[in-house]
């Protein structure tokens, strides 16, 4: 019986992983232009970005200057539930990211349009931005962006009572 339970758990965890992966942001392939500029495409051109996901895990990836943080999430296949629903068109707030004060100041000006959508984000802070509007530059090397909870965790008691 223990073996069955173990196997069942193993399979179900795998299935959940499968389900999570399959439900992760997947996009139709779009034309992506590489923002090379005048610099050769060397690996030291890349910008390191650290994401803190909703479980508190730190995920370190690299992106190219000119990529938006949403581009990075997509290109690196990062599994943030529901991230970037409107595909970077400032029609939602699901790419909401939170930065520390110092990094926030480096991110450049925010437009009214971005702020209008950011205003709708759950858990809005003074150092929040929308990932689709932040473009990487070398000066942002090593940045840390936290992915906040998208909704209040309404999980109550285990028996489901309100």
């Amino acid at each position: 019986m223990a073996l069955v339970t173990t196997l069942r758990r193993l399979v179900q965890n795998s299935l959940r992983e499968y389900s999570r992966k399959a439900s992760a942001v997947t996009w139709p392939t779009k034309q992506r232009s590489f923002s090379i500029g005048t610099q050769p495409l060397r690996s030291d051109n890349k910008v390191t970005v650290n994401f803190i996901n909703r479980d508190g895990e730190k995920i370190t990836v690299k992106g190219l200057p000119g990529d938006s943080l949403l581009d990075v999430v997509i290109n690196e296949d990062l599994d943030f539930d529901g991230f970037g629903a409107c595909e970077g068109t400032l029609a939602c707030s699901t790419c909401h990211l939170i930065f520390d004060e110092e990094m926030y100041k480096k991110l450049g000006p925010i437009t009214d349009e971005e702020m209008d959508m950011l205003d709708l984000a759950y858990g809005l802070t003074d150092t929040s931005r929308l990932g689709c509007q932040i473009c990487l530059t070398k000066s942002l090397e090593g940045m840390v962006a936290r992915v906040p909870e998208s909704v209040a965790d309404i999980r109550q008691t285990k028996d489901g009572s309100s």
Binding site: L3, V4, L7, R8, L10, V11, Q12, S14, L15, R16, E17, Y18, S19, R20, K21, A22, S23, V25, T26, W27, P28, D81, G82, A85, C86, E87, T89, L90, A91, C92, S93, T94, D112, E113, M115, D116, M117, D119, L120, L124, S150, V151, I154, R155, Q156, G160, S161, S162
Partner: protein, 487 residues
């Protein structure tokens, strides 16, 4: 797409998934049958709630009443907000994945009952949204010229059941009750220059009606004050910037608002500031000129509740609307509108009531809270109904944008997976799933529309739109849709 898992499964095809599962269990426990490991789940409704719930389930069938999927993304989101509809891309990927099967043209509650679905599936998720609307509950509501926003929006978005709405746009003034984003959508569609609208997927009959429209003034009426307004800043900004229009507000409505600004959280503060600026600030020369040339006006009217729709004497057409004048008790979100006893009559020829959608019960076997108009549930688990779940507006009530519904649906899916894992959801008995439902439907002469059938409709619509410079020209009747689907 190949999905690799640490252990035993190297496929994304759901049949192969079942086969591998049986191999595991045959090896591990001998007696365990294949079907006891294969959970069967179905979802009723293919709007955002349905699809976002599906995205977190391993294998799922989606049943949809119309031949076309996507619910309010297709029929609710305004034609001039195409970016909001980008979620269709992720839904399409989900639908085309082998682990998801779409069955359109199936009316759950009529062609097949919830009980029958529960016999075929371990879990049934109700995600059919809110197709009704709250009524004002005032005399004259049934007069010609009075429409619910739900129907008006359905009309300009090509919902088959709203095709015959044919609203009379031959009047100068339209009054919209309600000040949420849907109310602003209606105002914007009534006042937008045709040149802008004709490049959207708004329906052709609507475009023709709007081209002839005499509506020049739209009042958007709310019970409470500016600080309680329900719309969001993006939509307000669109009104402020709407070409060929100028704002027409009542300055007195904004007494005390400036003073209250400092205590407001940023989103509310910015929204209120924009309203104040639009209503009270003396515009610069350029803006002054723009306003003087504008041929159309729009404005908010606050502290007003409808008490009666007035008819033209001796006719059953609308001549105006009687509004009760309110005052506010309390402040902020919790402020209440209280009658003062005074009333005001506003002449108008079109009234659109935008005070909320409302869910309807689908099947007598499903618990329904008629006061809140939702299916009673705890975290998506329908109360007193094992194996029944709900997501989207049916679960929480008809407010919120697509992202709200997304989170809500992910939560329901999580509840289902938890219940499967813990054994709360009884999966000991094998269930036949779509096989038995398909057989039932066939017996009853109901032919489902598959997702590839929908893609034929999709292609025809896009092709028709191309020649008109529109993203698509929607098919407007179920008959046309089925004809294209099955030819």
């Amino acid at each position: 797409v190949l999905i690799y898992t640490p252990a035993l499964l190297f496929c994304c095809n759901s049949n192969e998934l079942d086969v591998n599962l049986s191999r595991v269990f045959a090896g591990g426990c001998g007696k365990a049958s294949l079907s006891s490991c294969s959970p069967k789940v179905c979802i009723v409704g293919s709007g955002p709630a349905g699809f976002y719930t599906a995205q977190h389930l391993i294998k799922v069938d989606i049943y949809e009443r119309l031949p076309v999927p996507f619910g309010l993304v297709r029929f609710g989101v305004a034609p001039d907000h195409p970016e909001v509809k980008n979620v269709i891309n992720t839904f399409t990927q989900t639908a085309k994945h082998s682990r998801c099967s779409f069955y359109g043209n199936v009316n759950v509650g009529k062609n097949v009952s919830i009980t029958e679905l529960q016999q075929a599936y371990h879990a049934v998720v109700l995600s059919y949204g809110a197709e009704g609307n709250r009524s004002m509950g005032v005399p004259g509501e049934d007069l010609a010229g009075v429409y619910s926003a739900k129907d008006f929006v359905g009309w300009y978005n090509g919902l088959p059941s709203c095709r015959e709405l044919s609203p009379d746009l031959s009047c100068e003034t339209a009054v919209i009750l309600g000040q949420g984003n849907v109310a602003l959508d209606v105002a914007r569609i009534l006042l937008s220059p045709i040149d802008i609208l004709k490049k959207t997927d708004i329906t052709q009959p609507t475009l023709e009606a709007l081209a002839e429209s005499q509506v020049r003034r739209v009042l958007i009426v709310g019970r409470r004050g500016p600080i309680q307004i329900a719309c969001t800043i993006k939509e307000l900004r669109e009104m402020v910037n709407l070409p060929d229009t100028r704002p027409d507000m009542v300055a007195a409505d904004f007494d005390g608002v400036k003073e209250a600004l400092k205590d407001l959280p940023r989103p509310r503060k910015r929204l209120t500031e924009l309203m104040l600026k639009t209503a009270l600030e003396v515009p610069g020369e350029k803006e002054q000129e723009r306003r003087s040339k504008a041929s159309r006006t729009w404005g908010f009217r606050f502290f007003r509740s409808p008490v009666e729709v007035l008819a033209e004497p001796g006719h059953s057409r609308i001549a105006g609307i009687r509004l009760a004048i309110n005052k506010l008790e309390g402040s902020g979100d919790g402020a209440q509108a209280v009658l003062t006893g005074e009333v005001e009559d506003v002449p108008c020829g079109l009234v659109v009531s935008s005070i909320g959608y409302k869910s309807l019960p689908i099947d007598p076997s499903v618990p329904f809270d008629s006061r809140k108009a939702i299916v009673p549930n705890t975290m998506g688990r329908v109360k007193q109904a094992a194996g029944l779940y709900c997501s989207g507006w049916l679960k929480t009530g008809p407010t919120g944008v697509i992202a709200t519904t997304m989170n809500n649906s992910f939560d329901t899916a999580r509840s289902i997976l938890e219940d499967m894992d813990s054994g709360t959801l009884d999966m000991s008995a094998a269930k036949p799933g779509s096989q038995s439902i398909s057989a039932l439907l066939e017996k009853r002469g109901v032919k489902p529309v598959t997702f590839s059938d929908w893609e034929k409709i999709d292609n025809v619509e896009m092709k028709r739109g191309e020649s008109r410079g529109k993203p698509r020209e929607k098919l407007l009747t179920v008959e046309e849709m089925l004809h294209v689907a099955w030819t």
